[in-house]
Each structure stands twice: as structure tokens, then as C-alpha cells.
């Protein structure tokens, strides 16, 4: 091929090794008298302010019987306050109290129906045909109170106020370890943000609780029940985590969601949404002195919570033997492998991050050797997941046509064995480090990206990680990677799921007229 230009050539890679470190995020931290912490990052690249907060609570703080409450609670935080969401707060409260009385009776009836279920008299608590006449009557009573409440509701007013003020990206999410709320507002609306967020923490009202509970159940149907492998993945997760409260889904068990009461939600709020369990983060175009005064004015008035915030003290049991799950679904054959590793901030987490990148990506070893090399897989992945209280390493892939999940599984083990026995070559280690270094810059390209990084790091245990992670990654040596490969990947420390296509649902192949 004729070449008219050639402005670059490939240098031997180890000659071009980068040794760059991303700039630090200039964070100013402050603690209010009520224990609430605030992180400020001044940044004038956008005429906007991204604001958010993390409540240090997630599904790992739940108890069986009310799993899913942390996430349901997140939904309730959009339902308004004493002055937002209603035209008549006193009347609204009165109706809410009446609703709870009916719900108490319904819960008693639900207990009876659970007896019927245990005795085999009915097959499903959610099926309308199985409900007792009394339960249906109570439902009607409740519906009448809902209709009455609607007369004094200002529907979705919290959203309307933010939206018409020009807020974008208003949302929230819940994980096993944290609940995060965030939005971006125009630069002149910091006071609106302070008003809205302090009010929904200080004066929140959990109206429309039971219809929102149904919404959450639909969310579960959408995310877990409907995707072909959703229920198998949920079962596999529950099998992998033995003693840790990571074993149940953040969305909650389907029997628990419809059993969560408003009273439980109120108690949950009183414990976990106290100021000393919340960190605010504000990133963007503000004047520091003014922002500081404004945040104090709005948030310092919220009294410190009186309940002690329980720590998750359960430790994951050391796994005594390999666990396996074989499932069939409408899906191509694949394997998913988990090993117990280490949580956020653990000294070995950085070497495990490097190890995961050595294996994954298009120039990683799994792709090179399993997809391009032996061809047993059509795709493969690996990742270290350092959660707050524990961590895991996850690898797997989809089997190519004519190959089995077992071959992919063996291929992954072969690659990990190589990492146990041989140091990674310097240029391969440097390549992975260069990608981490470039990503340290990319995450700084918007207010929202900086906000999310700070919220997640604080939720995991320490926001300083936003600046410490990069140098710690750069300090990892080939010997470190080899050591963690030997430490965390014995057979008895892993759980393996293989999924194969349901025979009845096999796609019609080779039918097409050739």
C-alpha cells in the first residue's frame, strides 16, 4: 500500500512509558454543628451548580422481612414536604392517619392469607382471585381515602418546582451501601437547592406511600423478573454472599416489598437520615463565602439525630468449598465467576483493580486468549468490585457457538494461573496504568461527573479516595499483582454460575433457505 504520509511510528512501548498523575480535585470539607458534612468544589466552567447528597444507608442496613426499604425510601423522598405536595397539610395528615388504620387491618388480613398460603389453600398472595372478601372490602375503603387525599394533593410538586426552575438530571439511586440524591441547577439557584434539599430532609412527608410501593414492585418486574437471566443472577448473588447482607437484592424480595409499612419507613428515616449520617456535595459556579453561609443557614437548623447509627458488623464467612449454580434461560450459553476479595480502601484493592484490567478490555488477556486465541468465547470480562463492607472479583464470558461455558470457565482459570506464576511484563503493566491515568482526567470534565465521584467515594467510606486512588494505582508493582493473584483465587473461594439456553426456547437456526 502506497503511503504518502507517516507522521507517527510505533515506538517500543516501554520507551514511551507515561508517568503522569492527574491533578487533584480541590475539595473544601466542612462539618456543621449537627454533624452533617459538606464538600465544596468551586468550578466556573459551566453556568450551573451540581448539588447532591449521600445518605450512608443502603440495602445492607436492612433486615429480612423488610428488604427493599432503603430503595423504597429513596422513592418517597420525592413526595414532598409539609408545604410542598399538598394544599392542606392538616387535612392531608388526617387522611394519612386514617389510611394507616385501614392498612393495619389489611396487614392483619395479609397475615391470615399467608397462613392460607402456607397451608396450600391459595397459590399466590398477589393474585386478586386469592384475596379474602374482607381484604377486598378493606382495599375499597383504602381507595376511598386515596381519592379523598387526592383533593388536597399538589401532585408531583417537588418535581414541578425543580423542573420549572431549570434543574436537570434530577434523580436518585440506591445501592447496597448508600443512597444518593442529585441534580444540577442554574448558577443563580443555589438557594433553591438549599431550600428544597434541606426541606426534604427536615420536613419530609411520606404521602402516596402504598402506590409508590406498587411502582417499586413494577420496577422489580422490569429490572429483575423480565430480563431473561434476571432471576438467575439474583439467585446467584444470594448464593455467593453467605452471611453478609449483600445476599438480598437492593430492590428487595418480592414477598417483602408489599409488606413494608409506612411506620417502618418512618423509623428507618429517623435512624438513617439524621444529619450526622449525610454528606452534602456542591460542585460548580458559586462564591465560596456566600455558598458556605447559605448552606449553614438551611442545613444547620436540622437537629442532630438521637438514634445511634448501627454499623454492619457481620463479616462474610470464609467459604469452605466451591459453590456452583447451573441455570437455563432464554440466553446464549455463558459463565459468571465470583471470588471473595476485599472492600473499598483495602490495600490489596489497587493490585486487584490492575489485575482486572490486565484480564479485561480488548487488549486484555481474556479477549486475546479466549476470544481471539482459542476462540472458546465470543466475549469475556473481568472486574474488581470493592464495596463498602466487603468486595468481590467477577469474571466470565459468553461461549462461542460450538463451545461450552465450561471451556470459557477453564480458559479464565488458565489466565489467572499464569498471573499466579509469572510477573506481568513492564509494558503491559504500564499500559493499564496509562489508562487509569487518562481516566483520572476524564472524570473531571463536568460538574456532574465530579459530584458523582465525590458522592460515591464518600458513600464507600472516604471521599479523599478521589485524589488518592490514582497515586495508589500507579504504585502497584508486578509483584503485588502476582501476590494478590495467589491470595484471592483458590478454588474454594469462588462461586460459579453457568447459564445455558432453555431447550424449548432454542432459536430456529439454519432454517433460512441457503
Amino acid at each position: 500500500m502506497q503511503m504518502t504520509i507517516r507522521r507517527w511510528i510505533f515506538l517500543p512501548v516501554f520507551m514511551a512509558a507515561l508517568s503522569l498523575f492527574a491533578q487533584d480535585v480541590p475539595v473544601v470539607e466542612e462539618t456543621l454543628t449537627n454533624g452533617m458534612r459538606i464538600l465544596f468544589v468551586e468550578r466556573h466552567d459551566e453556568p450551573a451548580i451540581a448539588g447532591g447528597w449521600v445518605a450512608h444507608v443502603g440495602s445492607s442496613n436492612e433486615k429480612t422481612g423488610s428488604t427493599g426499604i432503603a430503595h423504597l425510601f429513596e422513592h418517597m423522598m420525592f413526595k414532598g414536604t409539609t408545604t410542598i405536595g399538598t394544599t392542606d397539610y392538616a387535612k392531608d395528615q388526617e387522611i394519612l392517619d386514617q389510611q394507616e388504620k385501614v392498612r393495619d387491618e389489611m396487614r392483619a388480613e395479609e397475615a391470615k392469607m399467608r397462613v392460607m398460603l402456607r397451608h396450600g389453600e391459595i397459590d399466590d398472595l398477589l393474585k386478586p382471585e386469592n384475596w379474602t372478601p374482607h381484604y377486598k372490602e378493606l382495599q375499597k375503603q383504602f381507595q376511598q381515602l386515596v381519592d379523598e387525599e387526592r383533593k388536597v394533593l399538589a401532585k408531583n410538586e417537588f418535581d414541578r418546582i425543580y423542573r420549572s426552575a431549570g434543574a436537570t438530571g434530577m434523580n436518585a439511586w440506591t445501592s447496597p451501601d448508600m443512597t444518593v440524591y442529585f441534580e444540577s441547577v442554574p448558577a443563580n439557584k443555589l438557594e433553591l437547592w438549599c431550600w428544597m434539599e434541606s426541606e426534604r430532609i427536615y420536613h419530609s412527608v411520606r404521602r402516596e406511600f402504598y402506590s409508590e410501593r406498587d411502582v417499586v414492585f413494577e420496577e422489580r418486574r422490569m429490572r429483575t423478573d423480565s430480563p431473561p437471566t434476571g432471576l438467575l443472577e439474583e439467585a446467584f448473588n444470594a448464593m455467593f454472599w453467605e452471611s453478609m447482607p449483600y445476599s438480598w437484592p437492593t430492590l428487595g424480595w418480592p414477598s417483602d416489598i408489599p409488606a413494608i409499612s409506612k411506620k417502618q419507613a418512618d423509623q428507618f428515616f429517623a435512624t438513617y437520615y439524621s444529619p450526622q449520617n449525610i454528606t452534602l456535595v456542591i460542585v460548580g459556579d458559586f462564591v465560596p463565602a456566600q455558598a458556605d453561609a447559605m448552606v449553614k443557614k438551611y442545613f444547620e437548623r436540622i437537629p442532630r439525630g438521637t438514634n445511634a447509627i448501627p454499623d454492619v458488623n457481620t463479616l462474610e464467612m470464609k467459604q469452605p468449598g466451591e459453590k456452583r449454580l447451573n441455570g437455563e434461560a432464554d440466553t446464549n450459553p455463558q459463565v459468571d465467576i465470583y471470588w471473595h476479595t476485599v472492600p473499598f480502601g483495602h490495600k490489596d484493592s489497587y493490585a486487584l483493580e490492575i489485575l482486572s484490567q490486565i484480564l479485561s478490555t480488548r487488549t486484555g488477556r481474556l479477549y486475546k486468549n479466549l476470544v481471539l486465541g482459542s476462540g472458546v468465547a465470543s466475549d469475556a470480562f473481568a472486574r474488581q468490585d470493592s464495596l463498602k463492607w466487603a468486595g468481590d472479583f467477577n469474571a466470565g464470558g459468553e461461549a462461542s457457538d460450538g463451545h461450552t461455558p465450561g471451556e470459557v470457565e477453564q480458559g479464565v482459570y488458565n489466565e489467572i494461573d499464569k498471573l499466579k506464576n509469572e510477573d506481568i511484563p513492564p509494558e503491559e503493566l504500564q499500559k493499564v496504568k496509562n489508562n487509569f491515568a487518562a481516566d483520572q482526567y476524564r472524570r473531571l470534565d463536568s460538574n456532574m461527573s465530579i459530584l458523582m465521584n465525590l458522592l460515591v467515594n464518600d458513600g464507600d467510606g472516604d471521599w479523599h479516595e478521589i485524589n488518592n486512588f490514582g497515586p495508589k494505582i500507579q504504585a502497584v508493582t508486578a509483584a503485588d499483582v502476582r501476590r494478590v493473584a495467589n491470595e484471592y483465587f483458590p478454588k474454594e473461594n469462588r462461586a460459579v454460575a453457568t447459564f445455558t439456553r432453555k431447550t424449548s426456547a432454542a432459536p430456529a437456526k439454519d432454517k433460512e433457505a441457503q
Partner: protein, 504 residues
């Protein structure tokens, strides 16, 4: 307690007095009582960044020194609509091969390794009506990065083993076409909205993918990847004039024919065909018995974004179902009734052909009919009841107040302007961004009603339902609504995932 306030020290005195003054103000009981500082915003002007390169393409060049990164995107006039019959899937495969099939003097493996070593992000893809090649990398590597772009754009190698690999991956993905009900819903909705024979509904099959070879990709690439078919967006850590000179060099050194397939002439692509066919009104049902949640789409014929009604349509749809929680559909289906997590509508306006109005939700099988009856009711209401002044005003304020976020980053600005140039909006409506807020402001409640009557014609409604047929038809005892109340039901068979032909 920890006080780390180094940045605040300089203004400490001012802060304390300010804090005292402010703390004395009572916190109002409603946010409307807060007085906000004035906020003026004018969007950036395309003319300030637009460069007509002597080498052919137009570029939007925006320096941005905050991070040592450079972003380049090249938009290419190419797409699925140019695929030869029998070669469905060629556009997508070719896009993938540009990135992963080797380029210039580098094999696929060498190119992958080098891009990875630089910590760069290189992407290439060809979609329905455009191709993009983009690069994000550290500014110290700019020259090397532009060299890589040159090779990817003009000298891709279409390495044989990578074509074979990608074809296998595509065929394996194809097997999963019916596994997830959302995939079935998306495809069937498009068949109903635009017709079986519309080019965008020409899906790849095992035959078409099997038939594609390196020559097909190389010809397809060569035919359309000429600088005259490019528009460029560049932002990041560089000096403007220096970058313009580098781009001139990059595109002027585009070489002539060097191999056999280069005998094909490079041309300007023909117009994008607009021969869509909308289905007969009614309910269309696809049975997917193993899921317990039904997916529903409401479809109506749509408009082009150049239609004068476009701005009224945006606001009308925002109130109906586009505006999230505050919209009528979301408010009733989700927050009143708890029937769905997602309930929405969209009315985007097409660039090349009219894109449909679509509303949709997912609900447990047995409440599908009830939720659908509410959505239909809300659509009809838009055509009979004039919206409240406050509602329209809220929709306008939301649009106008969030407008500055459109141009939040330099990279977004460069890409928006380049894409406008690419789609022809800049030529047709050069003051679009400057005037957008006043066009939105001018819409009245009468306009909203008028466009609802004009476009939301209930008699034309096509309703697609994918899910467990038996449970969906059974309905829910508390709500005596049947699916057949919404129109005549036509059952659609699943399609063979490898041929896309209806299965018996």
C-alpha cells in the same frame, strides 16, 4: 469536628458578617418567596467556531485549556440506508472494522495495543443515517492521535480474521433477538410505524451477514469516506490556528486510489428515502408467555423537526408524557395508580423522515389493559381539553431555564454545532439556538390544543402489546377493562431471529 476551609480563609471576615445577616432572615415556607440573583445567558454562536477547511470539510474548533485532553469527532455522510440489497448489516460491520480491523501500516493488533497504551478512546461506528469516528486522548499525544485518525478514515485494512470474528459475534447476538421482550417491542414498533419495506427496517439476517466479505466493506468505505462527506468537531487543549493547520494537513493528504476497490467513484450520497408506511389502526399483540410484565407502545404518525408546529409539539408532548413526573401520563399511570415504573411519551420530530409520536409503559400482565386505557384517555384529553396556563408556563420555564445546560461543555458545544452542520439545520436555520427560547415562549395554549388535535388522532392509534397473552387478556378484577376495548386485536407472530421472517 473538622474544619478544613483553606480556600475560604481569604474571605473569612466577609463570610462571617454575611452569615450573620443571612441567618437573621427567616427561611420562607415556600421556595417561590426566595429572590434569586439575576441570570443572563446567551448561547455560543456557531460562526465563532466555524472553519471551512480548504481540504473540504467544515470544522468547529473550540479550544478548552482546563484539562490536558483533546476530543475529535468526524461525522460522515454514510449509513444503513446506503447498504446494497442482500448485504444488510454491512454499514454496522464496516464501522466496527474501521476501529478494530487495522489501519495504515498497523495490523489490528498493533493498532489496538497502541491506542490502549496511549490511554486513548478511539471509536468508530456507522448507524442508520450517519457514521462517526471519534478520538479522545491526552493532548501531548495529539499528533500521533491525528495520525491514527488519518489511517482509520482513509486506510482501514479490514483484516480478514477480524471480519470472521465479528461475523461470528453478530450471528451469536442475532440468536438472542427474541430473548428479551424489549427487543421484540422495539423492532415490531418500527415495522408498524414505518412499514416492512422501509430501509431502516431491513434487518441483517444470517444470510446477509454470511455473504459479507472484505471487499464489500472496503468498497462501502471507499465510496463514502471522502473529506467532502465529513463534518468535524474538535475541542480541548490546543491553540486554534495550530489545530486548524493540523486538520488541513490531515484532510488534504487524503490519498487517491491505491488498490483495486478504489476504482469505485467517491460520491455525495443520495437523499435519504422517506417512503414510510404507517400500519392500520388497532391493537397488535405479540405473545411472549414467559414474562410477567407486558410492554405497551402507542404509535401515531409524526412530523419533521422543520415543521412550523415543532415548538408547540415539544411543549404539548412535554405536558402529556415527555416531562417526567409532572406529565399527565406519568402522573396517572405511575404516581396515582402505581401501575408502572416507566410511563412516557415522545414526539421528537425527524431530521430526514417524520419520526412517530410514541407513548409507552410496562406493567404486570394483568393490569396492562387498564394502564393502556388510562394512557389512551390522556391522549384523547389532550385533543379535547385546553391545557392550563400554569402547566404551559411551567413547561416553558423548564425548557428555557435549563437551556444553558445544553452547552455545558466545550465538547458538547463543538459536537452540537458540527451535528447541525451535518444535518443541514445550520444552512436552513442558522439562528436556531439564538432564537429557540423565543420560539418556545411564543407558543400558546391554543397552539398546544391545535397541534394535539392535528397529530394525536385517536382513530389512527396503533397499539403494540408484547407479553403474556393469556394473562393480559384475562385482565384485573378491580378494573373491568379489556384489551379489546382499545381496538381490534391482531396477533403478530414472533419472527425467526436469523431470518426475521414471521414464524408459523
Amino acid at each position: 469536628m473538622k474544619f478544613l476551609r483553606s480556600i475560604f480563609v481569604a474571605t473569612l471576615t466577609g463570610m462571617v458578617s454575611l452569615a450573620v445577616v443571612r441567618a437573621a432572615d427567616a427561611i420562607p415556607d415556600r421556595p417561590e418567596k426566595i429572590a434569586f440573583p439575576p441570570f443572563k445567558y446567551e448561547p455560543p454562536k456557531p460562526e465563532d467556531y466555524r472553519v471551512q477547511l480548504k481540504s473540504g470539510p467544515v470544522a468547529y474548533v473550540i479550544p478548552d485549556r482546563q484539562l490536558p485532553l483533546v476530543n475529535v469527532t468526524i461525522y460522515v455522510r454514510v449509513g444503513q440506508y446506503l447498504e446494497p440489497a442482500g448485504k444488510e448489516g454491512l454499514a454496522e460491520l464496516t464501522g466496527w472494522l474501521l476501529r478494530h480491523g487495522g489501519a495504515g501500516t498497523n495490523t489490528a493488533e498493533q493498532l489496538e495495543e497502541r491506542v490502549a497504551f496511549l490511554g486513548a478512546e478511539l471509536d468508530a461506528s456507522i448507524g442508520e443515517t450517519e457514521g462517526t469516528v471519534s478520538l479522545n486522548l491526552l493532548s501531548k499525544d495529539t499528533d500521533e492521535g491525528l495520525g491514527i485518525l488519518h489511517d482509520v478514515l482513509f486506510e482501514p485494512r479490514f483484516q480478514a480474521d477480524k471480519i470472521a470474528l465479528r461475523k461470528l459475534q453478530i450471528l451469536q447476538d442475532m440468536e438472542q433477538r427474541n430473548d428479551d421482550s424489549s427487543g421484540i417491542e422495539g423492532r415490531e414498533a418500527d415495522f408498524l410505524a414505518y412499514g416492512e419495506n422501509f430501509w431502516a427496517n431491513h434487518y441483517s439476517t444470517s444470510n446477509s451477514i454470511t455473504s459479507i466479505n472484505a471487499t464489500d466493506s472496503a468498497q462501502f468505505h471507499h465510496q463514502w469516506f471522502a473529506p467532502s462527506n465529513f463534518v468535524i468537531a474538535v475541542s480541548g487543549d490546543f491553540d486554534r490556528d495550530t489545530m486548524v493547520a493540523k486538520l488541513e494537513q490531515l484532510f488534504s493528504q487524503h490519498t487517491g486510489p491505491v488498490t483495486s476497490w478504489h476504482d469505485f467513484p467517491q460520491t455525495t450520497p443520495p437523499p435519504i428515502p422517506t417512503n414510510t408506511v404507517f400500519a392500520a389502526p388497532g391493537v397488535y399483540l405479540v405473545n411472549k408467555p414467559d414474562v410477567d410484565q407486558g410492554r405497551v407502545s402507542f404509535i401515531l404518525p409524526g412530523i419533521l423537526r422543520y415543521n412550523p408546529d415543532y415548538y408547540a409539539v415539544i411543549l404539548m408532548n412535554d405536558i402529556l408524557g415527555g416531562g417526567g413526573f409532572t406529565s399527565h401520563i406519568m402522573s396517572r399511570v405511575r404516581s396515582d395508580e402505581g401501575l408502572a415504573y416507566d410511563a412516557h411519551s415522545s414526539f421528537p420530530g425527524g431530521t430526514y423522515y417524520p419520526l412517530t409520536f410514541t407513548a409507552g409503559f410496562q406493567s404486570k400482565s394483568r393490569t396492562v389493559s387498564y394502564a393502556a386505557s388510562i394512557v389512551k384517555e390522556e391522549i384523547v384529553k389532550m385533543t379535547t381539553n385546553v391545557v392550563k396556563d400554569t402547566e404551559l408556563n411551567d413547561a416553558k420555564r423548564a425548557f428555557i431555564n435549563r437551556f444553558p445546560q445544553t452547552f455545558a461543555t466545550k465538547s458538547a458545544t463543538a459536537n452540537i454545532f458540527a451535528h447541525d452542520e451535518f444535518m443541514g439545520r445550520y444552512a436552513r436555520d442558522p439562528h436556531f439556538w439564538a432564537e429557540l427560547r423565543s420560539r418556545i415562549e411564543a407558543v400558546t395554549t391554543d397552539d398546544a390544543l391545535r397541534v394535539a388535535k392535528k397529530y394525536l388522532v385517536p382513530d389512527k392509534l396503533v397499539i403494540l402489546v408484547v407479553g403474556n397473552k393469556d394473562d393480559i387478556l384475562l385482565g384485573y378484577p378491580n378494573h373491568p377493562v379489556k384489551l379489546s376495548n382499545l381496538g381490534n386485536i391482531t396477533e403478530l407472530p414472533l419472527r425467526d431471529p436469523m431470518t426475521m421472517q414471521p414464524m408459523k
